[in-house]
Symmetry: D2
């Protein structure tokens, strides 16, 4: 299984009047985490998109256990639990500095051909890189 | 069952380089939709929060079928399918002007006492207002 | 002089831990205000962009006097003080429901040909529509 | 003069349909840059706020020369050109990896007593830390 970690510091503008990170902002944290996971695998998402494959999000599921606060340095653990086929699923866990689990998120994306706008499978050069982890 | 509708026009800053509304921004659309649903029920969320009851989000589940684009005038249908107890669940459907269903979202929030930070049930004045729909 | 008005209700996610609308979010309010000003003039910004003219922002100047709060229904007054040439400047004033002036913003944008990426002047069909106000 | 540098990688959600970083998002980049500048000076903004001094933004002025794109690793140079008194001004320059100057921003903030909501000057412990640079 492929697992990676990234750290994100909470910005002021990401908090809300409750003092918590606004619940919608975690989607962007997950995005950062999956892009960095791909980079660690040797895939640059921007290059992938520029080469004609995009990965729109199909489902997002988040469970919020504890809030994150301003200036917290969060750790996001990202796992790709299965070798992707038509879709790829990233499983995220966000921890604060006290190592408390704040929330979990699961994001499933679909490989789409930018020109035809149709689903294509995971590209072979990506599969080559990821297979060795399974 | 209580159902309400709100319209939101997509802002430029809410789109991404794909030309779509960024997937994380729907969380804010759902927030607007549920706050307006509460307002229609005669509840002002701000007043509720100021009076000591907050509603942090517990789970968010979104399924994205089609993208929304810049300047689209979206219609968000919001249902509260069950009388809330400790939690309240809002079910959302977002449609574009062609009446295509773009995505569905389900957001569950918990009634929390701001002072004690503990779950309390749905407040009685809220239940009174919502009961007549069921 | 052309003047228009638009109302925006503050979303929860737009506030920060201070309880104020985050200072960066006013840029999006100004964007909504200028797009609605153009619409009132009979110009659709999306259509303009799709037809090959884009309006990237060149300067943004904001002076913050008082904060806006969650759920405030803001009124944004937008003026185009001069007939645009190579650039267009929108002057904004944001008021709350008590008619207090919260902040003022000035945004200057440049007319750019999407294909050549070079400045072109304000398009003639736009000038026709705006001239009668001066 | 005190100068510091911070790097920020552009997130997908920060781009817009033009493919550029949305003009309003630079405000958040400037926020990250000034908070990191303060941290380098030995001041933690969160602690300052928790101890009763907040720094709401008074003016924001940005001049946009070139766009930033998705996944760009930006360098933000931040200078505090003068010892702060009632206000503090941060001057920012944002560069891309090709060392092109993308934009400049100036943000002036006011030292406010959280309890009285009145301006107070820059706190003495902060002045002590910053004086040696001038």
């Amino acid at each position: 299984m492929f697992v990676s970690e990234v750290k994100i510091r909470v910005r002021y503008g990401e908090t809300d009047r409750m003092g918590y990170v606004y619940y919608g902002n975690y989607a962007e944290y997950f995005e950062v985490a999956r892009v960095e996971a791909l980079r660690e695998l040797g895939m640059n998402y921007k290059d992938m998109e520029d080469s004609g494959i995009m990965l729109p999000v199909y489902t997002l599921n988040v469970k919020y256990m504890k809030p994150a606060f301003y200036d917290d340095l969060l750790t996001i653990k990202t796992s790709i639990r299965e070798i992707p086929k038509a879709r790829i699923t990233f499983s995220h866990e966000i921890y604060n500095e006290k190592k408390e689990l704040l929330n979990t998120g699961e994001v499933t994306l679909v490989f789409i051909d930018t020109k035809t706008n149709k689903p294509i499978g995971a590209p072979e050069n990506f599969l080559e890189k990821i297979r060795k982890y399974y």
